[in-house]
Amino acid sequence: MRPEANGSPTGGAIRAEPRRHRRALRPVFVDQSGRRRRLVVAAGAVVAVLVVGALGMLIAGLFGASPVPLPGLPDMGRPAPTQPGPEQAEPDQPRPTQPASAVTPTRPAPTGPTAATEPTAPTESAGPVLPTQANPTAPPRHVPTQTPANPGRPTRP
């Protein structure tokens, strides 16, 4: 392929290109120095990083959402229209505090052995433990919520 390897006696007329003949003897596109290759590789790497980043963002958005603890519904001094059976205990659940708040003024005395391990109160983020996991049989934890201004209620963010 390379002209210098061309051993055929083709004569001057066939050899010479009219203009830029030095350049014309080199294969088109070939870069002996390898500089262009390095440039393209670098550009490709940048594009790859961007593509992987965008893929990561796409995938990350599909997952996550750490669960927010679901509070029990406070009994508001009158029975709910229906009281179907076993969820009588529901209103007795302690209302969980705002996850961000470090103090738990509404939480009364420890509720048996499970309370010691309950992680929601001290951790900063919303813990995975739902209030329903608290021992529902503990009787004295009912916080009357008749008073409209509950002092233990954290302010709305």
Binding site: M1, R2, P3, A5, N6, G7, S8, T10, A13, I14, R15, A24, L25, P27, V28, F29, V30, D31, G34, R36, R37, V40, V41, A48, V51, V52, A54, L55, G56, M57, L58, I59, A60, G61, L62, F63, G64, A65, S66, P67, V68, L70, P71, P74, A80, P81, T82, P84, E87, E90, Q98, A100, S125, A126, L130, T132, T145, R153, R156, P157
Partner: protein, 709 residues
């Protein structure tokens, strides 16, 4: 060539292409998902006729449902004199601010059940909702009807919505209102199951007491009447701040607030009305980042899908236009050629030298040389240049003992060098260049030189046909050749911009070859390079479709890949080498502005866009109406079939191979565009390529004799 050190072929771009395709597919899917967003009163609504009702506790219970992780159900209603205004289907850039303004004027608090994808589109509205003391609830990501969705979609709808809220306002929420929900008494068992499957232990489900049906725009009075509770009773009131013209809602809201606050009603968020702590929970930093990612992905997806639509339309229009122009041009060309042939009988135009470069062509060379010598043209000289073959190619030719056949041996120096050796030895003024694997039709030489009767013609292209037409690959290539020679080449002939006289069968004037400096060796497509140089030197290059040569096409995908890689890369080299013709005048300008532009558009740019088009087709199969996708595909295929059928008829070929054309959609099409990708990368990186020959089996001759029978 083989002696020189090569860097390995680049490979990393395949990974990049794969990742890019994956990203495009993902982003388009997200965009398609988001585009399905509906609102109350729009989109499909599953028929609820004869549906079993939800459990009694739900039907007769309050509008706020709490399902424990263990499935325990509690319901609550609003306390007396308390109204929880709820707004669904927002945020909306027009109506949400108006609703917020009215609420602020009356110092009322409300709850907004927002659609997650719209949150990503208007995060600032969500921030304003929170800043003004209102609360947020989920209304799914795409306003999807939960009961119709598989469980994974339900989970995804809520996860995406929480992520959207986290990104916009830095909070998650425990409130959920299923789209298309109404009062508890209207709930079916299936709807309750669907809600329970996602809400248990995680969300308070907020239905409504008073469904104003404001989305149907029933008039301000009707909305006010529907939103007014019985005296003294509390209520959850359902309104909408998105999904259409909500001016009636805004007006009705103002009246409701005025009238009801006069009667001593308080307007609270759902959680405040139930004496709960806030429904919001702040999110940690990871969740915030994730949510920004989601918003970015949604924006990118929406942008990409619009961009892809433009690309698709451009590609489709260009493709159709090309076929149309081709068929039109082919018709004109065929008629002119017919007239010319009927006027002029075949003439003797002086002696002809045929140059056959041969590198390890033992399988074919005897048939090639015999077919040349047996041509019925009065004076034929054949020069076989053995380019350092190791399989005894030269000896085979010598052993034939044919008169007027000379064999020249040279050390391996490449095809252009072999051609130049033969050209230098040629004694005739007309020189035919032939590949070592090509078998000439008996009339080919006589026909091929006829156009030289016109002194302005410098080169003539013959008509190459595929000899081995067995199997899908053979038929595909046969069709491609017939279309390429009968549509493309006739168009190029009319446009005086023929970019290639094929190496398999082409004739040149000796003075042309000398004027352009012989066969150039700086590109891998020396035939294209030589033809372009001929045009730029001011000669005409024409097509003679009756001069037929039979060639052996690659029989395996690997061989086809190598051949096309060389062609594609070589064509790119030739285009680049002759790029100055884009600005030149006269015949060179015609080559540049017609031929090169055509090649750049249809052999480089469109194939490079083709992977994205394929991805869009996949996306279309899932997200677009099937009739639309099928219509476009069928229409395009029909036009292609018509054009190919016309090309076959022009060449007096049978139409039967046409059935393989729609199958080119898989494998063949991908191979063709991936070759272009590979060639582009090779060109950009500037690596040196190996000349790759294909393995010859002598099939051209065998197939030809079969075809003649």
């Amino acid at each position: 060539m083989a002696n020189h050190a090569h860097r390995p072929e680049p490979r990393a771009h395949w990974l990049l292409l794969g990742l890019g395709v994956l990203l495009l597919l993902g982003e388009l899917s997200l965009a398609g998902f988001v585009n399905q967003v509906g609102a109350e009163g729009s989109g499909p609504r599953a028929p609820v006729a004869a549906a079993a009702p939800a459990p009694e506790a739900v039907l007769t219970g309050g509008p706020v449902l709490r399902l424990g992780a263990d499935g325990e159900l509690t319901t609550r209603s609003m306390p007396a004199d308390t109204i929880a205004l709820t707004f669904d289907d927002g945020p909306d850039p027009v109506w949400t601010p108006q609703v917020l303004d009215v609420l602020a004027r009356h110092q009322a608090r409300a709850t907004f059940f927002v659609v997650g994808s719209k949150v990503n589109e208007h995060p600032e509205l969500v921030r304003r909702i929170v800043a003004e003391g209102h609360e947020l609830g989920l209304h799914t990501f795409t306003h999807a009807e939960l009961v119709t969705l598989p469980q994974w979609r339900r989970e995804l709808e809520l996860t995406l919505s929480q992520n959207a809220l986290a990104g916009a306002a830095g909070v998650n929420t425990i409130l959920l209102r299923p789209p298309y929900s109404s009062r508890p008494s209207a709930m079916t068992a299936a709807e309750f199951q669907a809600v329970a499957s996602v809400a248990a232990g995680r969300y308070l489900t907020v239905l409504t007491d008073l469904d104003t049906r404001d989305w149907a725009n029933p008039g301000v009075d009707a909305i006010v009447a529907a939103g007014t509770p019985a005296p003294g009773q509390g209520a959850v009131v359902m309104l909408h701040d998105g999904g259409g013209d909500r001016s009636q809602t805004v007006a009705a809201l103002d009246r409701l607030l005025t009238e009801l606050s006069g009667r001593g009603y308080r307007f609270e968020t759902v959680s405040a009305a139930l004496d709960l702590a806030s429904a919001h929970a702040p999110v940690d930093r990871t969740a915030a980042w994730r949510s920004h990612g989601l918003r970015f992905a949604q924006n990118l997806g929406s942008w990409l899908s619009s961009a892809m639509e433009v690309v698709l339309v451009v590609a489709l229009v260009l493709g159709l236009l090309r076929l149309l122009v081709q068929v039109f041009a082919a018709r004109i060309h065929a008629r002119r050629a017919e007239r010319r042939r009927s006027r002029q009988p075949l003439r003797y135009l002086g002696p002809v030298t045929v140059v056959v470069p041969a590198y390890n062509e033992a399988a074919n060379i005897a048939a090639t040389v015999r077919s040349l010598v047996e041509n019925d043209y009065p004076s034929i000289e054949v020069i076989v240049v053995d380019d350092g073959s190791t399989d005894g190619t030269a000896d085979i030719v010598r052993s034939l003992g044919l008169p007027n056949v000379r064999v020249i041996r040279q050390a391996n120096a490449g095809k252009p060098a072999a051609l130049n050796t033969g050209i230098a030895q040629a004694t005739s003024d007309l020189i035919i260049l032939v590949d070592g694997d090509t078998v000439f039709d008996r009339q080919a030489i006589g026909r091929l030189v006829q156009p030289f009767a016109d002194p302005s013609v410098g080169a003539v292209s013959g008509n190459t046909k595929v000899a081995n037409r067995r199997g899908l690959l053979g038929r595909w290539q046969h069709l491609e050749y017939v279309v390429g020679f009968n549509l493309d080449r006739r168009l190029f002939d009319l446009g005086e911009c023929m970019p290639t006289v094929p190496g398999a069968i082409g004739a040149f004037r000796r003075e042309v070859l000398y004027a352009v400096g012989g066969v150039p060796a700086t590109t891998l497509a020396e035939d294209t390079d030589l033809t372009m140089a001929t045009l730029r030197a001011g000669w005409r290059v024409v097509y003679e479709e009756t001069a037929i040569a039979w060639t052996e096409a690659p029989a395996t995908l690997r061989q086809l890949w190598r051949q096309r890689y060389r062609w594609c890369y070589g064509t790119m080299q030739a285009i680049w080498k002759h790029r100055a013709s884009l600005r030149e005048r006269g015949p060179a300008g015609k080559l540049g502005r017609r031929g090169l532009v055509y090649l750049i558009a249809f052999q480089i740019l469109l194939p490079l866009a083709a992977p994205a088009v394929d991805v869009f087709a996949l996306y279309g199969l899932v997200f677009l109406p099937l009739s639309q996708v099928a219509g476009v595909w069928l229409g395009y295929t029909a036009v292609q079939l018509l054009a190919a059928g016309y090309a076959l008829r022009l060449d007096r070929e049978r139409l039967t191979p046409l059935w393989t054309l729609p199958l080119q959609l898989v494998v063949y099409r991908q191979l063709m565009y991936l070759v272009t990708v590979q060639s582009t990368v090779a060109a950009l990186t500037g690596i040196r390529l190996r000349w790759q020959t294909i393995t010859r089996t002598g099939a051209a001759d065998r197939m030809l004799s079969e075809a003649r029978r």
